[in-house]
């Protein structure tokens, strides 16, 4: 899935003050690319991610998904887009505590009805991320790494064309973080899924990754990381 951002601006009102969190930002994210959005806190990384995921609307500019302007979509189309084509992964895992691992994976399917086949696929994806023995466990019974793997399985179940991850390794130790990042890279390689990750942690950047560096809502650097390690 190709993502194009054309002169995107996003403003928030905070009391009497209007804050510009994304400022006239333009870029292309190619289908099947592995993209990192990096930058300091408050630089507009997460806001940009939510704009791409149709969870928010830009104040100005256009977000194009495979050439279609998101702002022209109905809410039904956007819901379908989020349900079927996007896999969201969040820093704090964001699992529903009253649901088991399997049911958390099936959350997006609940409104349309969960088939036995869906349930079997959920089990398979949980096994794929190494949680075959934790199917009936609740989030409170899982470690942070396990919870994030459930969130990844939830994203994988949709077989999405676009994965949006907001600090997916932010609350994990480096070893578990590397495992989680490995799942995302496998997904990109095997299914040509477009993966966009917001992160502070530059240790996950690899040669060939598309890097977008933000500062105060503007792109300060955009490049493809080469084989030779460089300081960003």
């Amino acid at each position: 899935m190709q993502v194009q951002l054309e002169h995107i601006t996003k403003r928030h009102r905070s009391g009497d003050e209007e804050l510009t969190v994304v400022d006239d930002l333009t870029c292309d994210i190619q289908e099947g690319s592995f993209t990192f959005i990096i930058g300091p806190s408050g630089s507009g990384k997460s806001s940009l991610l939510y704009l791409i995921g149709a969870l928010d609307l830009p104040s100005q500019g256009r977000v194009l998904i495979d050439g279609e302007d998101l702002s022209t979509w109905s809410s039904t189309r956007k819901n379908k887009f989020r349900r079927e084509e996007i896999g969201f992964i969040f820093q704090s895992f964001n699992l529903l505590k009253q649901l088991t691992a399997v049911d958390n994976v099936l959350v997006s399917e609940m409104p349309v009805g969960v088939s036995g086949e869906d349930r079997q696929r959920a089990v398979d994806y949980l096994k794929q991320v190494g949680l075959g023995h934790r199917l009936g466990h609740y989030p409170s019974q899982l470690s942070g790494g396990e919870q994030q793997r459930v969130a990844i399985a939830r994203a994988l179940l949709k077989e999405p064309s676009l994965v949006l991850a907001d600090e997916p390794t932010g609350e994990l130790d480096s070893k578990t973080g590397a495992i989680v990042m490995g799942y995302l890279r496998d997904l990109q390689k095997q299914k040509q899924t477009t993966v966009i990750i917001v992160t502070h942690d530059h240790s996950h950047l690899r040669p060939g990754d598309h890097i977008i560096e933000l500062h105060d809502g503007k792109i300060v650097k955009q490049y493809v990381k080469d084989a030779t390690p460089t300081h960003v």
């Binding site: 939510y50 379908k80 009805g113 088939s115």
Partner: protein
Amino acid sequence: MISPGTIFPGMVFGLAFRNIWARPVRTSLAVLGMTVAIFAMVSLFSVSAGLNRVVNSTLDRVPGLIAMQRGAPIPLFSTIPSSWKEEIEKMPHVTTVVADCWARVNIINGKTIISPPRLLCGTDIARRNQLRTTLYKGDVYEGRFLSEEDVGKPHIVISKSVAEEFKVKVGDPLEVNGLKFTIVGLYHTGSLLLDVALLTDIDVFRALTGFNPGIVSSLYIEHDQGKEKASELAAVIQKRFTDREWGIYKASTILTIAQQVTTTSTENPVQSAMNNLDKMFKGSPPASSQPKASVSPRLEMESPLEVKPAEQWASRIDSFTEDLDLFLFLMTSIGVFIAVVQVINTMLMSVTERVIEFGILRANGWSVGNVVLLVVSESAFLGAVGGFFGSAFGWIAVQVINHNFPDRVQLYAGPELLVYSITFSILMGILGGLYPAYWAATRSPMDAIRRG
């Protein structure tokens, strides 16, 4: 193993169910509020349902026509000339007419009677024994019913409930309003309305109570017309008395009492009011009263005699129970309102704590409608559980009351009332969940997720 193709469409409801029980104390309190409201609803509405049931079951046993003074709600308040009985008896299709006189019993064996009420009935024994209907006569389980040999004698037939209350049996004396009777039979109809009667000979009744010999309270008319044509016959009988000089019954009210107080110059006004109140509550015409003392002028073309099949007399009870239902609804609506506010409060607390959860759901493709459905399902569950327990406890309370006070009340919490109460409770739960659901569904998913 789950077979492919199995659908689980109820997972949203399953999630809703798990959500409400994730906070058991808060949920239990909301359910308790709804339970109390529905319990009160079932208990109170069982009064009017019970009344309807008693009336209907009683009327099933009275196939003939009942004639009373126009406007009188029950025979106790009715006075009509006894000569009309002979006249009706001679009319076509009329087979038997029984004259009855009724008086309220105030004292039995020295005990003041307040509740349940007891009524002394003087009946025409010869005619009553000619009736095809077996009411009272066929309900005697000990001793015998009144017969020709009891005419002119202070013999009495009483109900099982009276016998048990006063611990008397056949052959025992019974003092009613200071008059001495001998019990010759015990009956049991099972109807709260019928079992209030103490039956004796009409002449004895008149002699002992001083009831005007030219007057009877009501006439029971048996005919050969069947149920379908009973109303036609009733109309014919009624019409025959249109030109008669007789007033209609007019009940005492506070207004009429006040009028009487202000117009009675020779009497102490307070004493006069007390006397009138006494008359009103005792309900019994004075033993020596003249008929015109308790009547009012009537319209020229209106018959002073009202003749109807029993079920039509019951329509008066129906309109009374409708009013009673309205009153009870107003009473219970206060409790229900409080319960709904409690549900709103519970659901608002719940959704404000779960903003992140709704953000996750929206990010995973849940629509605003899906989130509303989830929250409303949760509040509907609160209503359903509250409704179930309220109805169950209400039903149990009705059984306990009926068991312990069989002669005083007959409450009825039937399936219709229970289903209605649970449905109403679910609807109130849904109503209570609408605003919290709207609030939850319209939060920005982005802001919600960022809170996490």
